[in-house]
Symmetry: none
Subunit: 505 residues, 2 copies
């Protein structure tokens, strides 16, 4: 490498490292706010987050960054870089060019607005008060609309948002994928409903000691290979995972006294996100690539561990005894098969995060369609509850009795995360497609799970996905692993087989 190139690469890396430091601080400030920060400090904390996020933002669009990425992207210079450095430059250049469009004072406004809005949303949800939340949400949507203009409209306005969470994903592709998925899942759902069979499940809603719930959650996380020396489990209103640095990837869950499954499956879900971040190659530290490559791939990991593994019959072959022993009064007379079926009961329900694997995708499609309306058809924020309720009626045949159980249920919009929801279904589809390959390459897949031998699965995922961090794009990953592009049929096949068995279709 030429002397000059080497110097610029080093300065570039130092700048990226500095930005990474801001992200770690911001991650911790946010984690703390949602796990244990005292109430009275929250308002000033939101300002602090806004100010530091702006500082990090300013670095990403600094002249310094501009000159580095310009120089390092020149073909004759780029050719001298390592693959990782080249990808790192590409990422920073894309962020630089995108961010440069946003006036910093608008960015700062947006940061404090969305931090503040998450607290207001929590209260609004608690009090079933959409009207109290509406003005803030309107402000957020208006700013997002403004930002789309800054960033530039892709094929449609909503495409601009989608691309931020899932590079190269478009409304056109998603419309096609979701249409295909609907065309297979809606008939499946009808068959299930027509079967007349409903697995017993009342036993899930008894009183389950919170400490024992935590105990089983910690145990299962350990089993799947979550490293507690590089993370911790806490409680928050809404479960989440956050990677502060590769040696500090934290997860949260929420314990409900009258719900056995919620905390267990959310722990597996967030644990999946965390396994990804914990197992990124240390070579990527400080390059800006030591994180998941997209939200869709991230969700493929959380949904894989939660559903493909956690809701499988073989998983409970191994772990049901332990669960039963923890809760002998509640589960003593419940057979493993009864429990498995209850954990996989399909039901048209109101709450996305409690939905079964099948209807879950319909919850996502509803949100996807509403967000498209917000940004491509200028749907008014005030009309959200009406539209929400109508779509639930249309797709799931039920209407939320309150906004808390409807349009207010998710945290995402309060954080400005429009364009994110599709990731969950993409995650389901990626996971099913990858599992297909995994089963071929690891023929003992089921046996291992049944034996509680989950580590080879983690190893396989580390080898194929985790270690690469952001150094491969989602489409590169799915192509390299499975040999084909995203294909919704794998998810449909998986769900058809699973429910044909449970519902004897």
């Amino acid at each position: 490498m030429e002397q000059n190139v080497e110097q610029v690469v080093n300065s570039f890396k130092q700048l990226v490292h500095k930005m990474t430091s801001y992200y770690e601080a911001l991650g911790l400030l946010g984690w703390d706010l949602r796990t244990g920060a005292p109430r009275k400090g929250a308002e000033l904390r939101a300002e602090t987050i806004g100010i530091l996020a702006t500082e990090a933002f300013k670095l990403s669009i600094s002249e310094e960054m501009g000159s580095y990425v310009e120089f390092l992207s020149r073909p004759e210079v780029s050719a001298q870089l390592s693959d990782v450095d080249r990808r790192s430059v590409k990422e920073c250049k894309a962020e630089y060019e995108r961010s440069l469009q946003i006036p910093p004072e608008r960015f700062q406004k947006y940061s404090s607005l969305t931090t503040h809005a998450q607290t207001v949303w929590e209260e609004a949800k608690h009090n079933n008060d959409f009207v109290g939340f509406e003005p803030l949400l309107r402000e957020i949507v208006d700013m997002k609309r403004e930002f789309i203009d800054y960033w530039g409209v892709k094929e449609t306005r909503y495409d601009t948002l989608l691309d931020m969470y899932e590079p190269d994903m478009t409304v056109a592709k998603l419309d096609a994928v979701f249409d295909r998925l609907k065309s297979r899942l809606v008939p499946l759902l009808q068959k299930i409903q027509q079967s007349g069979y409903t697995p017993e499940h009342d036993f899930l809603k008894q009183n389950y000691d919170l400490q024992k719930q935590e105990e089983i959650g910690l145990f299962l996380l350990e089993q799947m290979g979550y490293d507690f020396e590089a993370g911790r489990l806490d409680e928050s209103e809404h479960p989440f995972a956050t990677g502060l640095n590769p040696g500090d990837v934290r997860i949260t869950t929420h314990y409900y006294p009258d719900d056995l499954l919620s905390a267990i499956f959310s722990s597996l879900h967030e644990g999946g996100h965390a396994l990804y971040e914990q197992n990124i190659s240390t070579d990527l530290v400080g390059t800006g690539l030591a994180t998941g490559t997209s939200m869709g791939i991230h969700e493929s990991q959380s949904r894989f561990w939660e559903n493909v593994v956690g809701r499988s019959r073989v998983f409970w072959d191994q772990y049901y005894d332990r669960l039963q022993q923890l809760f002998p009064e509640q589960l003593g007379k419940v057979s493993k098969e009864q429990f498995y079926q209850a954990a996989n009961r399909v039901e048209n329900s109101l709450i996305r995060i409690e939905a079964d694997e099948l209807t879950y995708n319909l919850h996502i499609i509803i949100r996807y369609e509403i967000e498209k309306m917000l940004f491509n058809d200028n749907l008014a924020v005030a009309d959200l509850p009406k539209v929400w309720n109508a779509k639930y009626k249309e797709y799931l045949g039920i209407e939320p009795p309150t906004d808390a159980l409807g349009v207010l249920q998710d945290v995402h919009w309060s954080g400005g995360d429009f364009g994110y929801f599709a990731s969950y279904s993409l995650g389901n589809m990626y996971a099913a497609q990858m599992t297909q390959t995994m089963r071929k390459e690891l023929p003992q897949f089921d046996e291992w799970i049944a034996a509680g031998n989950l580590l080879p699965i983690k190893e396989w995922l580390t080898d194929k996905i985790y270690r690469f961090g952001k150094s491969k794009t989602p489409s590169e990953l799915i192509m390299d692993i499975t040999g084909e592009e995203l294909n919704p049929d794998y998810l449909a096949d998986y769900l058809e087989a699973k429910y044909a068995d449970i519902y004897k279709l």
Copy 2:
């Protein structure tokens, strides 16, 4: 106010607010590291802290800051400012001018040196290896000597360091104050020793359940008015308090299974620091003045709650029953008076942080005299153990058998904190002097404590001290409250009366 002045004031405030945001983030990153951060993230976390601390430092010496404080300090401009703004400008100007004297590469060197030295000191203390620590300590002392030249020598070289922790404090003043204190405390200590009386205290060293220790700590903090909606209590290796923002002031303690008093009194101590920070007027938020005015005043509050209140007989009149009920096996046969006396036992000991209220001040005077020798008389670092041991022999009649129990015991020097130690005794003296006034203005002082009615005391302190934050200097505060300058006789009077009673002198 002129248009232009108003604009500059606003820009200045924004810059101060930005710096405050860095301090909040740094505070949280440090708190987290010491309370619950996973081990494997610690190394990268340390880098993050270093990088963000440097960013904050750069802001404090930025051209922007320089131009604001220059303009806003001009007499004709300063006259137009509010009192708070004027003080805020004065503070920032002082910090700006002080920091600007240090060549940035020397600051950087000093930062990494002291960060590294703290790790080396820990090992040296553990291995009783002064010689292993000496080269680094010599480097630190040399750099501090160099910095004194940059900052400018006040009355004496050591004065320059003292002033950084306690504005306007000088060697001349402290020499006089400590001489007076010694002249009264040394004879008192002799009388106590000659009394031949030693309160029973073995019962303090039984096995005390950690959860119950936490329970009583939380209860007492609530009693003194610590606001758990603006703070939280956690455990760390060494207790500390940290004000992230005025609505988020956290404290920690450390529970020892075989020591009942350590956690109780460190909770009261850190609780005192926290009460100060929690009750600063919200008007000061974002001015840089929303913090304690000096280390001495801060310690006056921690020592007041720990000792004047927490080690008083009336305090345990109220709370001993509860403690006894928590630990019936351990304390069932211990009378309230026995407990009170055990908590106030005087003993010539080697370790400062375990010392009683009386000898504690001698530990401080020893350190003060040694530091003066280091900076005013060029004492060699290699001679520290010899001098240390001689002073312990002289003042306390005992000699440390090892350097770990002697010159290596405190963390301060490894961090470059020369000039800090005096704050602890200043805190004791301020506290005693303020208590004298408080007793006059609140004649029911003892009755209230005996009735567990601590809030009027907190109110009084808020009114006289807490709310002002850094907008009054320590000398202004003590003069406004008590009508006279710092006077060591109040502390001596207080201790003489207390121990005359316990030791029947």
